[in-house]
């Protein structure tokens, strides 16, 4: 069953030049993209900076409206985890407030408290974290907080936009393992955006490769990595540094 169905999506942004900020042209951030995501899959979206990965993610989240094209969602329970855990958590809010904000419509404070604490255990953070502020945590811990926040509203799909790229490699592995565990436990669908082909290979069932706003290749992860058909995909894979 499909959870996301995109057909011929287009989104462009103006290029502004000069003192008067005149429109000097438009850049096609997403250029005729069609992508289907099956429920329960982890779909990787790879590409270099500026290829349109994040714009496509935002269109799926409904944050951006496409200029044209169709998008059909099989759920309205979407969540997002951002790249930079330093900017995505409000520095003025305590962790308890950050986490319970998504449950603001719940009247039952007892239930709210229980759900927040349960989620904290799930991402392996201690209870006393609730009384602290974001700056008191390391990058990896902050990303755990962001994950807990995303999970609290019981989403069916999460757009993970470069969730580990600002983390050290040992911490990357911990967070990726956590995301995999969560996926198994709650059967959440992930759209996993990353520029790092190694991370995508570790996480994803399917992979879509983006370049200049277009998806140039889609397929099973194992297939694409062992047998890429597009020259750009080949070039990307050849650039992976192995040890």
């Amino acid at each position: 069953m499909l959870i996301v169905e995109c057909k011929n999506l287009k989104k462009s942004f103006p290029i502004l030049r000069g003192y008067m900020r005149d429109e000097a042209g438009r850049v096609m951030a997403v250029d005729d993209v069609s992508l289907n995501i099956e429920r329960g899959h982890i779909v990787g979206l790879v590409g270099e900076s500026g290829s349109g990965k994040t714009t496509l993610g935002k269109i799926i989240l409904g944050v951006l409206k496409p200029d044209s094209g169709e998008i059909r969602l099989g759920t309205d329970k979407l969540q997002v985890i951002f790249q930079d855990p330093y900017n995505s958590l409000d520095p003025r809010m305590k962790i308890r407030d950050i986490l319970s904000e998504g449950l603001i419509l719940k009247r039952d404070t007892e239930e709210k408290r229980e759900r927040v604490e349960e989620m904290l255990d799930l991402v392996k953070l201690p209870r006393f974290a609730l009384k602290k502020y974001p700056h008191q945590f390391s990058g990896g811990e902050r990303q755990r907080i962001a994950i807990a926040r995303a999970l609290l509203t019981r989403p069916e799909m999460i757009v993970c936009d470069e969730p580990v790229s600002s983390l050290d490699v040992t911490i990357q592995l911990q967070i990726l393992k956590l995301l995999k565990d969560i996926k198994k436990r709650f059967n959440i669908t992930y759209l996993f955006i990353s520029h790092d082909l190694r991370v995508v290979r570790y996480m994803c069932d399917r992979v879509a490769v983006m370049k200049d706003g277009k998806i140039i290749e889609v397929g099973g992860a194992a297939d694409i990595y062992s047998n890429p058909s597009h020259p750009y995909t080949k070039q990307l894979l050849a650039s992976i540094l192995r040890i």
């Binding site: 490699v169 990726l176 082909l197 190694r198 570790y202 990595y225 992976i240 040890i243």
Partner: protein, 264 residues
């Protein structure tokens, strides 16, 4: 082994913070020999960049070099006077920084900045310096050096900027090249090209190179020997193959296991 070019001995750099003294570098020692590429690998905050900055005496308050020795061809760099140090910095020891967009001054053209770097260290008039600058831009495989010469940093792509940065580091024929995460800000395909270029240059000019990276893949491709840094110390040093094959230190083992789990 060839001659010793740089010797860093039990270097300690402390930062005075309100919460107390932070021992950012806590006794770092390593040697760099002529023609060798020595890598420093470690996580963010482990002290890699600070080690490089110490070599050029670019530590500013609240940071302070508390003790240790930095010997450049036998000369102690830590108590040398500023004027002499300036002669070494940028000419005999050159550095390429991580972020090419912030390492250049945004209000001057690339050409102007390279020419400045040449004329600070060599007695050349502007037109000679310009010729040298263009020659080095060609050397780093920039296809249209004239355009790049007259461009401002924001007009160039990240890859081209980093090539220009490398050209600027090379113009005074340094004996030591310090590369601080030179490809981290670049896309993977561009990273591959820049690493290829660096390999070519280092191989040809036989420069002693200190290569800093958080990416073991990059280190494995580029370096002969490597020091693994953790919390302000080098926990393990050795040939790259030996460390990758049989790491001894517990932190190195975790690090290499993580890298291998994520490799494909």
């Amino acid at each position: 082994m060839s001659e010793l070019v740089l010797e860093v001995k039990s270097l300690k750099v402390y930062f005075n913070a309100s919460a107390g003294i932070i021992k950012t570098l806590d006794g770092v020692s390593f040697d760099l020999h002529g023609g060798e590429v020595f890598g420093l690998v470690g996580e963010s905050g482990s002290g890699k960049t600070l080690t490089a900055l110490s070599v050029l005496d670019l530590i500013y308050p609240p940071g302070k070099i508390v003790s240790g020795n930095i010997l450049f061809g036998g000369t102690e760099l830590l108590n040398i006077d500023t004027r002499q140090l300036r002669k070494i910095r940028g000419s005999k020891i050159a550095m390429v920084f991580q972020e090419p967009s912030s390492a250049f001054n945004p209000v001057f053209t690339i050409g102007y900045q390279i020419v400045e770097s040449i004329r600070v260290h060599q007695e050349k008039n502007v037109s000679d310096a310009r010729t040298i600058a263009l020659r080095f831009l060609r050397k780093v495989h920039i296809s249209d050096p004239l355009r790049v010469y007259d461009s401002y940093p924001h007009q160039l792509s990240g890859g081209t900027k980093q090539r220009a940065m490398i050209a600027m580091a090379l113009v005074n024929s340094p004996e030591i090249l310090i590369l601080d995460e030179p490809t981290t800000a670049l896309d993977v395909t561009i990273q591959a090209q820049v690493l290829e270029l660096l390999k070519e240059i280092i191989g040809r000019d036989k420069m002693a190179t200190l290569f800093i990276s958080h990416d073991f893949g990059v280190i494995a491709k580029m370096c002969d020997r490597v020091g693994v840094m953790y919390k302000g110390k080098i926990v393990e040093t050795g040939d790259v193959d030996a460390i990758l094959g049989s790491p001894k230190d517990p932190y190195t083992i975790t690090l290499i296991e993580s890298v291998k789990a994520l490799s494909c």
